[in-house]
């Protein structure tokens, strides 16, 4: 693949919002490197029994579709209509008021009118009208209907992979029409004729067969965590050993692979380990349910279930009482909106989660039997179970990025903020403008399996609204860290802020907890978990970090 070069920020920030003169049915997408994700290699599809594995390439004219691709798509669409009321309804009731238009980060970043959620939906809706509605059959284009052609399919591919399923449009829609739902189902239609993106399928197939998106084997998974535990010991003098697949542990801890795979997620992982050590928590991690994230759900509801089911299955095998989940966005969307429904019942082999430290019973997780680490930590802090030295976070001026999924598909706003305020010195936390946080938060621009390198130009455009709000607090308050409770954010935001606001760091919230936790038997800490000198210890650290 050709190396993608992204234009300079000054170039990218010149967005042209003027729609083309031609009507949208006559405009075809241009597959330019940097603006699409590569086609999935056949081996991934074979690993998970997905249909029509074949070698094909996005810029090619011929996508090597199966001969009856059109019948398949229409039959699959009919099937989805019969199984999802949401789809019928969202197709039928949109009035095209345009309230969603300037809410989409991809529209704001690209200026492409087909990235207005209403238009993106219309790309699918026009086919629905043509084949499932009398008006579309009779009046055709006048009714906003059009034939399903290969060009239409390519257009779906292009724009359904410029939607991060973030639901910001759905907050503003007067009827709650959720583009995310249509994007997901649209991607299912594409997959039914073997059109998938490589970044998603590679992650899914690796997760399915090995245990995590990054394809770590059980032994590699252990290596990574053991290494982070050693890092903890080196920096804090505290041993934070991890047990693997330990039967009879009270709690199974599951977090996305992003948290043990690479910086800066790994620092959050170190934070978890320190926190659990501090509490002497009876927990274990699993090499089988080693992935909290779920790229499967980005490609279909069924694949989401095929990956998600590992969590409960492993909890049952290990005989734990409940599950603790790490900081992750789409993982928690799946956990909150789908997990028990996928499973078909509330798992009877688990107990209603109860914090062994504070005795708090998590009534809100009575059926799900899984607790979010931010809920768990906030409860600990509220009950004065943690001793912090906030001066260890004094070098950090933080703003908090509400990740789309916990924000708009769950509603977890207060816990992370509560933790932040307790682990940072007074006056070190600054909110971004109100129209860019909480339920109105802007996406990182790379979620929903779009964090592929070859997609960099569009990623940087899609993340522009987020970065721009971060820029605002960086200029105004000197904010130097962007906090989040999402492993995908920790994987994608560093690239984004590095592009738009060099010098800005991305951090998980539990990393800050790990920095601040005071252990009775720790060594004197002179650095944070990233080996950066704490305030007051700069000169001791030598020359490279002079501030």
């Amino acid at each position: 693949m050709a190396k993608v070069t992204v234009p300079k920020p000054q170039e990218l920030a010149k967005v042209n919002y003027q729609p083309p003169a031609k009507g949208w049915m006559d405009v075809k997408p241009e597959f330019r490197p940097g603006t699409y994700v590569n086609a999935a290699q056949p081996k991934w599809l074979e690993m998970i029994n997905y249909p029509y594995p074949r070698a094909w390439s996005v810029p090619d004219e011929d996508w090597k579709l199966p001969p009856d691709w059109k019948e398949i798509i229409l039959q699959q669409m009919e099937d989805r209509l019969s199984r999802f009321r949401s789809l019928k309804l969202f197709f039928d009731i949109c009035v095209r008021c345009g309230a969603c238009a300037d809410k989409c980060h991809f529209y704001l970043g690209t200026g492409d009118p087909k990235n207005m959620p209403v238009m993106r939906a219309e790309l699918l809706r026009s086919v629905y009208k043509r084949y499932f509605k009398p008006a579309g059959k009779f009046f055709g284009e006048l009714a906003g209907a059009r034939d399903l052609t290969e060009d239409v399919l390519k257009e779906w591919f292009y724009y359904l992979h410029q939607c991060t399923i973030c639901r910001r449009c759905s907050v503003f829609c007067p009827y709650g029409i959720d583009m995310a739902e249509m994007t997901l189902l649209g991607r299912e239609l594409l997959a039914s004729v073997g059109i998938n993106i490589d970044w998603a399928m590679a992650s899914v197939a690796s997760c399915y067969t090995k245990g995590s998106h990054i394809g770590a084997t059980p032994q590699a998974f252990k290596d990574m965590l053991d290494f982070l535990a050693e890092e903890n010991e080196r920096i804090t003098g505290v041993e934070t050993p991890v047990t693997y697949n330990r039967k009879g542990a009270e709690i199974l801890f599951i977090t996305p692979s992003g948290d043990y795979f690479a910086d800066p997620g790994s620092y959050t992982m170190m934070g978890y380990l320190l926190l659990f050590k501090y509490l002497d928590l009876d927990y274990t991690v699993s090499t089988y349910a080693a992935e909290g994230g779920n790229f499967g759900w980005f490609i279909s509801h069924e694949m989401g279930k095929r990956l998600n089911i590992k969590m409960y299955e492993e909890a049952k095998r290990l005989g734990v009482k409940w599950i603790l989940g790490g900081e992750c966005g789409h993982m928690w969307r799946v956990c909150n909106q789908y997990q028990t429904t996928y499973y078909g019942e509330s798992p009877s082999f688990l107990e209603v989660p109860k914090s062994p430290i504070t005795g708090t019973v998590f009534e809100n997780a009575r059926a799900h039997k899984m607790v979010h680490i931010s809920e768990f930590t906030a409860d600990l802090i509220h009950n004065n179970k943690l001793k912090f030295d906030v001066s260890r976070n004094e070098h950090i001026k933080l703003t908090f990025h509400d990740s789309c999924n916990p924000a708009r598909a769950m509603g977890i706003f207060e816990e992370p903020r509560y933790i932040i305020k307790n682990v940072l010195p007074e006056g070190h936390f600054f909110e971004m403008p109100p129209n860019t946080i909480r339920e109105k938060t802007f996406c990182c621009g790379s979620s929903a399996a779009l964090n592929a390198d070859e997609f960099m130009e569009t990623r940087m455009k899609g993340g522009f609204p987020r970065a721009n709000a971060v820029r605002h607090v960086a200029e105004k308050y000197g904010v130097n860290h962007l906090g989040c409770i999402c492993a995908l954010d920790r994987a994608t935001l560093p690239t984004l802020v590095n592009y738009w606001i060099p010098g800005m760091e991305v951090t998980g919230i539990t990393e800050l907890v790990g920095n601040a936790l005071v252990f009775p038997d720790e060594i004197e800490r002179t650095t944070d978990l990233r080996d950066r000198p704490l305030v007051g210890f700069e000169e001791a650290e030598g020359e490279e970090e002079a501030e």
Binding site: L12, A13, L81, A99, P174, N336, T341, R408, F413
Partner: protein
């Protein structure tokens, strides 16, 4: 290649003008029974049947997952307080959902949240530009003005269909006409309705993005409603017709003893026919957003998945990679790494699934 905008704008305009001409000249050509009786009855039939058909069509598909869009803090630790507004924006139980729906339907809650975002030049930033977001209530205001005005106009028209006219109609009329600057008294709702519609049409025409995405199905109802409003306006204020005769016609229709009295102007039949077309068109159009919003799963469900199971009627077992699949593949390496396994290395490995 036809111009997309022109086609989607002009065809519905021509259609509405054609419908008007049809009724106007039809009434002059002694087809009063067609436009005064047959059309209204047919349209009501289509309206009711179409409405039922469409709602049943929607309801036939299940709601497999509970997917409310959460716009505030969810239920969590008891000491994290939630305001009433937050409970309605992220409902925990049925009563919250009722509140959320009520706000949505009666106050257009989500539209009230509307913001406008604009890219502005900002030389201080290296990228030279800044996105500015601000609260933008005009769409909400225009929409709510039109909808409520239309509702009140419909209620006022009930005086044609009740004998004696229901009491609330008189009160409504006196409030509606309290600004007395013209004879006959000008109803504010009529003015608001026309103003609201004009705004909704203007934004489709003058905002390039809106013009790009608007379809004939967006212009047609606007033209139809505008023509209904305008013909009504003319009937009341300029070319008045015999109101007693109109009432006789209306009462005949609702009592199922239709009569067509003499003295009703063709303009009135035009007005009535346009209303009939609206009724007939309603169930087959985007106007179904009105009943549809009640069924919207992102708004009408409580965010209570974590403590109340939602059952998917078509949930089916899926093939998945089991723990034993993993162990069978990596047993040796796992043992070497000190990870506990189900079947020790020495034991036979093959027959285990």
């Amino acid at each position: 290649m036809t111009d997309f905008f022109k086609m989607h704008f002009l065809v519905p305009l021509a259609a509405v003008l054609g419908l008007m001409a049809m009724a106007y000249f039809g009434a002059q050509a002694n087809l009063q029974w067609v436009f005064g009786v047959a059309a209204p009855y047919l349209s009501v039939l289509l309206f009711v049947e179409g409405l039922i058909y469409r709602i049943v069509y929607w309801a036939r598909s299940p709601v497999p997952f509970r997917i409310p869009t959460t716009c505030a803090q969810n239920r969590t630790l008891p000491w994290i307080e939630k305001t009433v507004g937050e409970k309605l924006d992220n409902p925990e139980k049925f009563s919250h959902v009722v509140g959320r729906m009520a706000l949505e339907v009666l106050a257009f809650r989500s539209l009230f949240r509307n913001t406008r975002t604009e890219l502005q030049k900002h030389p201080d930033y290296p990228e030279g530009a800044k996105l500015v977001h601000w609260s933008y209530k005009w769409l909400w205001f225009g929409a709510i003005a039109f909808h409520y005005a239309f509702l009140l106009v419909i209620l006022r028209h009930m005086r044609f269909f009740s004998e004696p006219a229901w009491g609330f109609i008189h009160r409504l009329e006196s409030v509606d006409g309290f600004v007395q600057f013209y004879v006959p008294v000008v109803y504010l709702t009529g003015v608001a309705m026309l103003a609201g519609l004009t705004y909704l049409l203007a934004r489709r025409l003058f905002n390039p993005g809106m013009r790009y995405l608007s379809l004939a199905a967006d212009y047609f109802p606007l033209f139809l409603l505008l023509s209904i409003g305008l013909t009504g306006f003319f009937l009341r204020y300029i070319y008045r017709t015999d109101v007693t005769a109109v009432k006789e016609l209306a009462m005949g229709l609702v009592t199922l003893h239709p009569v067509v009295p003499a003295g009703i102007s063709p303009l009135f039949f035009t007005h009535l026919f346009l209303v009939s077309v609206l009724f007939a068109y309603f169930p087959f159009s985007k106007l179904m957003h009105a009943p549809g919003v009640f069924l919207s799963p992102t708004r009408n469900m409580a965010n209570n998945n974590r403590w109340r199971l939602h059952v998917n009627p078509w949930n089916y077992p899926v093939k998945f990679h089991t723990y034993m699949d993993q162990e069978n593949e990596y047993r040796e390496a796992m043992v070497e790494a000190g990870i506990p396994v189900e079947i020790p290395l020495a034991a036979p490995v093959e027959e285990e699934k």
